[in-house]
Amino acid sequence: MRLRWLVPTLYILFLMLPIYWLVSMSFKTTNEILGGLTLWPKNFTLDNYITILTQPVWYNGYINSIIYVCMNTAISVTAALPAAYAFSRFRFLGDKHLFFWLLTNRMAPPAVFALPFFQLYSAINLFDTHIAVALAHTLFNIPLAVWILEGFMSGVPKQLDETAYVDGYGFWRFFVKIFLPTIRSGVGVAAFFCFMFSWVELLLAKTLTAVAAKPIAATMTRTASSSGFELGLLAAAGALTIIPGAVVIYFVRNYIAKGFSLGRV
């Protein structure tokens, strides 16, 4: 068993290879990329990154993505908190069916909903706004947030609630002052997963936006088709999309594993 460390090491190497390739391409000129295989950028250039950080078409994509992802995370977690509390503490008519119905919405293929979503959000005049994408993404993020939070809340003994009530706390005061701090790592994990799934989703985000709220991922696909193959530029844009996720994951690294082990199902 002394060679055990080889397994994760090899796996991480396998994971890093395509990422290394992407990052190395982002420092090459498009000509060098098309010219053949070079393991290391021969003519090291920062032009690709400069283009992205100075042209509004590009950097607005990042801003749009981050705006709707944050809005979605806030909405999903806020709405999921009371619901998860109810599922973890009370029995009420249809609670189990409701829980399963919520989960079924994670099973709906986004490809199915693309067209009706476009019509729905056009009809209520929200097409091409950040809030439209944020609301649409609650479809799969709310069930997930409820699921994760419910797991964390079930792990908190009920005596905590009862003691607080005996001490004269009202429900909301107890919930905000005592309960939320107790499950803050759960809130962190739920927020992380909402952030992650909203950040990586493209199909709905692309369907619901045109110009004003266009996500970075859509900017990439549309630029790829309109201006030929600017591979270096695309690689740089791709490399930059990894950063927000990497930052977020660094903060919650110790809770990720926990988030699922405590989950109910």
């Binding site: 796996y11 490809a111 009706p116 690294r253």
Partner: protein
Amino acid sequence: MNEKAPYQKGWIFVIPVVALVAFNAVIPLMTVVNYSVQETFGNNIFFFEGIKWFQAVLTSDRFHAALGRQLAFTATILAIELPLGVAIALAMPRKGPWLSVCLVLMALPLLIPWNVVGAMWNIFALPDIGLLGKTLNNLSINYNYTQQPAAAWVTLIAMDVWHWTSLVVLLAFAGLSSIPDAYYQAAKIDGASPYAVFRYIQLPKMRRVLTIAVLLRFMDSFMIYTEPFVLTGGGPGNATTLLSIDLVKVALGQFDLGPAAAMSIIYFLIVLLVSWVFYTVMTRKEEA
């Protein structure tokens, strides 16, 4: 687990969630159902057609082929990612700085937008300028995923393994880290073999998280669209046209709303049915 008190006002707590999800789920779903039973010749004029589209979809060879490819894809990636993920989780350090390094690096692929994953592998595997494709060809392996269906499949599966095995690793690791040290000490005193430790301690403790892993990987791989679309576009020919790619081709490419809607509903029902079976099996295990 806490004893739950009967409290009908619990409904008040779930109203925001139900309202949001219903708005996003029920209205679009009804739109799809509506389309699935009608025929249109444009100009917003619709005719009721009953179950014609459902019959057409269920008997079409094209749908059967796409469904077959979808099932083959899902079965293959489950067969690879689950054992691989468990093996990696077992070999990971239990604590210390290396654990954090492992977790952060392994989670990276999960956080890359799906079309970037597709584009990345598209270029990575190109036979003339991509690192993977060029290296394979230099080793005199004839590999060109834009021409050879088999190579396209291998690339697609390699991409999915690259993208999602980490999720299984994280889940399996979560299950493993919930085992108290006392269990291992007891096994050591009994002189249990590593296999026995795995079979009788680790596997049972991981069972619940592994069922979540199967469920999540099943649902997500069955609904996969963006990555294969960007990687191969469903080609060469129709070799990698999975269900969702076929669906979008019908819905947006040919604008056949009726058949596309009928297909969506059948598709959704398949995912729902399989997930429901998983769900009931899991909850029964929990009660037992």
